[in-house]
């Protein structure tokens, strides 16, 4: 008894710990430390990237000498305050595309958790067999650098002198900007009601705009209330038009009698700079059969735009807005360097699209 109980307890504890170690992926982790197969090689690389162990990750590349480490890091973790610098690689999926004894091709889907929501990035990676191990051949990209130059910036800027906190009713004040909802179209989607449309700043000063909608029941009571949230350009310069989209999840048209639209505007300090050109816009279907609106963004100003946000409105042949989609671009816009973007649109909407308009919204780390 004197020896039996301690031994039993010790042995049982060790066994239990071993079971849990296997169950919680200890074996898998050990496997991930090796790269005896092409899959293991990609896993190992991405695990190191996930842990932001960049030196080790870079050293694992088959073409480490050809790939600049900064470019490699920028590729996976962003640079210049881009969206990827506000992101963590949460997990990834991978599946082989083809494989021989010498090389293999793997498709990886990287799942990032970013500051604006989840982001997925699909890449095809080449893997080479070198001796006992496999190594990933990283696409050779160089960090885009702007040529030294002077870009004169003399765009307008509006500053506001705000009234104080005290109640100064009946004295001079500056009115809120005049904004107007140009169009509104309520659509029934399979899982929701969506309201799309456009809003314009009709004033001569910049406006900070929010569009809200209230669905009313047949008895006039409120059924649901939502706002455009990030599916709009909130800051509108004079005469600027922005698409907006308001989603009502789990709502159906037969539950609703009418919609009350509400646009709020506020006078804000703003600058007409930067001007972002949206070029090479085209509708296209990708390899997976997804309908996309593709194009390039070109920052015409001299300052970096950290996180660009694309909001696109699609019109039918009568000029009615039939859909609004948006997407964040994971690269920063450096001056004069084009950056591609893509936003998707539903399959049933794509054939009806006659025209579209892209609006670029942005966030700058030092100016918000």
């Amino acid at each position: 008894m004197k020896y039996f109980v301690p031994l039993l307890i010790t042995a049982a504890t060790v066994v239990l710990i071993a079971i849990a170690w296997v169950n919680s992926g200890g074996m898998e982790r050990e496997r991930m430390r090796s790269s005896r197969t092409s899959e293991e090689a990609v896993r190992l690389l991405l695990t190191q990237a996930q842990a932001r162990n960049w030196d080790r990750a870079h050293a694992l590349l088959a073409n480490a000498s050809d790939v600049e480490k900064s470019a490699f890091v920028a590729d996976l973790a962003g640079s210049n305050g881009s969206l990827l610098t506000f992101a963590n690689l949460e997990n990834f999926d991978l599946w082989p595309l083809h494989k021989t004894d010498r090389e293999a091709s793997m498709r990886v889907k990287l799942h990032y958790s970013t500051a604006v929501g989840p982001l997925e990035d699909v890449r095809d990676l080449k893997v080479q067999h070198e001796g006992e191990t496999w190594r990933v051949v990283w696409p050779t990209t160089t960090v885009a650098r702007v040529a030294p130059q002077v870009i004169p910036v003399n765009y307008l800027r509006w500053d506001i002198i705000n009234r104080g906190a005290e109640d100064d009713w009946g004295v001079q004040n500056v009115d809120s900007p005049q904004v107007r909802i140009l169009s509104m179209n309520a659509l029934q989607r399979p899982d929701r009601i969506v309201i799309v449309g456009e809003v314009v700043n009709e004033d001569t000063v910049p406006a900070y705009v929010n569009v809200g909608a209230t669905l009313l029941r047949p008895d006039g009571s409120t059924f649901a209330q939502e706002s455009s949230f990030d599916k709009i350009s909130h800051t509108l310069l004079p005469k600027q038009v922005s698409p907006y989209r308001i989603d009502f999840p789990e709502a159906r048209m037969n539950q609703v009698k009418s919609v009350r639209m509400d646009v709020k505007s506020l006078l804000v300090a703003a600058s007409a700079d930067p001007v972002i050109e949206v070029s090479d816009q085209r509708l296209q279907t990708d390899a997976l059969g997804k309908n996309l609106l593709l194009g390039q963004l070109l920052n015409q100003s001299g300052q970096v735009v950290n996180i660009p946000h694309v909001v696109a409105a699609y019109y039918d042949d009568s000029g009615k807005v039939i859909w609004v989609s948006d997407g964040y671009v994971d690269q920063a816009l450096l001056p004069q360097i084009p950056v591609p973007f893509a936003v998707d649109l539903p399959d049933d909407v794509a054939p009806k699209v006659h025209n579209y308009h892209v609006n670029v919204n942005y966030f700058n780390v030092n100016r918000s």
């Binding site: 307890i9 504890t13 963590n88 500051a115 900070y208």
Partner: protein, 578 residues
């Protein structure tokens, strides 16, 4: 009577004094409020009771939540002391009381199993116990510690009643159980199995001529009486929990991890709480198994130890099933350590007898190292708390110019959120107490506080996004950002930066189309009579316990156990010398 200094028990008063000397200065420095995770949360709860004694509906978090979802006694006592010394010092006072009661509780609990001398060593080690330092200064789990202390004090009465049918044991024991439950029900629930079963086993072993069924019957009667009492004293809690069972998505917690896969978790949840006791594990095993009377203690220790390892063994998952994802496991480390302490006391007795001064020096070094490591870990740990964040400007902003008409949100404030909430009159849609969350924007995602959303990855950010989408509904106008990570979402969602504090460390964002907050209707709001019960019964039970202790003091013990180490034979370990 032994005259040698090393062979005499240390008087309990001296140990309590030592506890004051060791922990008093740290508490006077208000260390838990600056380094721990939960201390500010307890202050926040107490602050509400101080202002609304009979109204447990607190509108400051989650657009309104019921504090009946958390046993209130520790908070009521902080509230009472706060009228005299202020909230912060009142917390420290109650924390000090918890430590002192734990020392006394360990002494009395150990006394059931081992000699007075070994029990005094066990009590002495409690002062330096890594898990105590961890719970007080790192976790800030005041309720767990206080409840465990009171529960330990109740156990000797349970033993007394079960074994000897002494009615005072029944009354005092049951009242103390009610008090422990009023402080923290979960500790009591698990304590019932981990502590009460070994004590019951002991009562059976020590029953003498009495019948087994009589002892068991009395134990069952005690449990039933305590169960009914807890049911009545915490009635509003049961109503709240039945009305809204916890159905939210599980929230990740590091104590559920497999510590072998993350060294920092292993340090945080194993090496720091156990400290030098790890060295004594073989002795604990040896002593516990060698002695029939101590075997239940060893078994209790082992079970608690396995639970305390979280996901390092499959046991908690097997036992708790889905509840595994709701519970946190650091509290079991306290149970394991306390269950091991009588054995450690016995081991210390052996060492002192054998090595004298060398043993004293060795044990002292172990004590100091254990506690030193736990305190050092506060600085070295990668899990930094934000409790020391200066939030004065945030509370000033909220309390001026009618800003408190709107709700607010903090991002990147971690556990400084309760500090903001305590000192502002404005309400938030976020909160640090996960069990009370009922807003769908929070319960549908596997993330905890919105203020720490990024640490919960996509789930956290989606939860935050859902909340910001409904800002107008909740009157959520102001957002305080302490981590620039959150700025893009806030900016794209329509908030504008309006003020900056501490050289840009905190920025204030405002959304101008938000209307002042209106009360959010909730069926979780307790009825007035529940508030009345909540404000009287838990505190009443503690006052009753104090009165019982003062009016009917325990008789001085004359009993002396003679458990020695190494034991000469298996049979003779405990003998009563009346």
């Amino acid at each position: 009577m032994e005259t040698t200094f090393f062979r005499r028990p240390i008087p309990l008063a001296a140990i309590l004094l030592l506890a004051v000397v060791v922990h008093g200065p740290l508490l006077l420095m208000e260390l838990p409020l600056n380094t721990s995770y939960d201390a500010n949360l307890h202050v926040f709860f107490a602050s509400h009771y101080a202002h609304h004694w009979f109204d447990p509906w607190n509108e400051k978090w989650f657009a309104g939540f019921s504090q009946t979802t958390y046993p209130p006694l520790a908070h009521y006592w902080i509230a009472i002391f706060s009228y005299v010394v202020g909230l912060r010092m009142a917390y420290m006072l109650v924390q000090m009381i918890a430590i002192l009661l734990l020392v006394a509780g360990v002494y009395r609990f150990a006394r059931l199993f081992v000699s007075e001398r070994a029990a005094s060593y066990a009590a002495l080690f409690t002062v330096f116990l890594g898990t105590v330092a961890f719970l007080v200064y790192s976790a800030g789990q005041l309720s767990t510690l206080l409840s465990a202390s009171i529960y330990l004090l109740a156990l000797p009465y349970f033993y007394q009643w079960s074994r000897t049918a002494h009615w005072r044991g029944l009354v005092k024991g049951v009242v103390l159980i009610l008090v422990a439950a009023s402080v923290h029900h979960v500790t009591l629930l698990f304590g019932s199995f981990l502590f009460a079963l070994p004590v019951l086993w002991l009562a059976l072993a020590d029953r003498g001529e009495r019948s087994v069924f009589a002892v068991l019957g009395r134990a069952v009667f005690f449990a039933v009486l305590a169960g009914i009492g807890v049911g009545v004293v915490l009635l509003p809690y049961w109503i709240a929990i039945l009305k809204h069972p916890i159905e939210q998505m599980p929230i990740p917690h590091a104590s559920r991890s497999n510590f072998l896969l993350n060294i920092n978790y292993a340090i945080n949840y194993f090496f720091i709480p156990y400290g030098a006791m790890i060295v004594a594990f073989p002795a604990i095993l040896w002593l516990g198994s060698a002695n029939r009377r101590l075997r239940p203690l060893l078994l209790g220790f082992w079970v608690a130890f396995l639970f305390g390892l979280g996901g390092t063994t499959p046991i908690p998952k097997w036992v708790f099933g889905r509840a595994f994802e709701i519970l946190t496991y650091e509290r079991f480390t306290l149970s394991a350590a306390v269950l091991a302490l009588p054995l450690v006391g016995l081991f210390a007795e052996y060492l002192l007898d054998r090595y004298r001064s060398a043993a004293v020096a060795g044990l002292a070094v172990c004590c100091v190292l254990t506690m030193g490591l736990a305190l050092g870990w506060l600085a070295w740990s990668p899990f930094k708390t934000l409790s020391s964040l200066n939030v004065d400007q945030v509370t000033d902003f909220l309390n001026r110019d009618g800003h408190d008409k709107y709700r607010y949100l903090t991002l990147g404030f971690g556990n400084a959120l309760p500090k903001v909430s305590t000192y502002t009159t404005a309400n938030s849609v976020d909160g640090e107490y996960n069990s009370a969350r009922l807003l769908p924007e929070m319960t549908r995602y596997g993330a905890a506080q919105l203020t720490s959303a990024k640490y919960f990855g996509t789930a956290g950010m989606e939860s935050l996004r859902a909340m910001l989408k409904h800002a107008n509904n909740y009157g959520l106008k102001f957002i305080f950002v302490h981590e620039p990570y959150y700025e893009p979402m806030v900016a794209f969602a329509g908030w504008r930066k309006v003020e900056t504090y501490d050289y840009g460390s905190v920025t204030v964002w405002s959304k101008d189309d938000v209307s002042p907050a209106r009360p959010i209707q909730s069926d979780a709001m307790p009825a007035p009579w529940e508030g009345l019960l909540w404000g009287t019964l838990p505190l009443g039970s503690s006052i009753l316990a104090i009165l019982l202790a003062l009016l009917f003091p325990d008789r001085a013990r004359v009993r002396e156990t003679v458990v020695e180490f190494p034991a000469p034979t298996e049979e003779i370990y405990a003998r009563e010398a009346r």
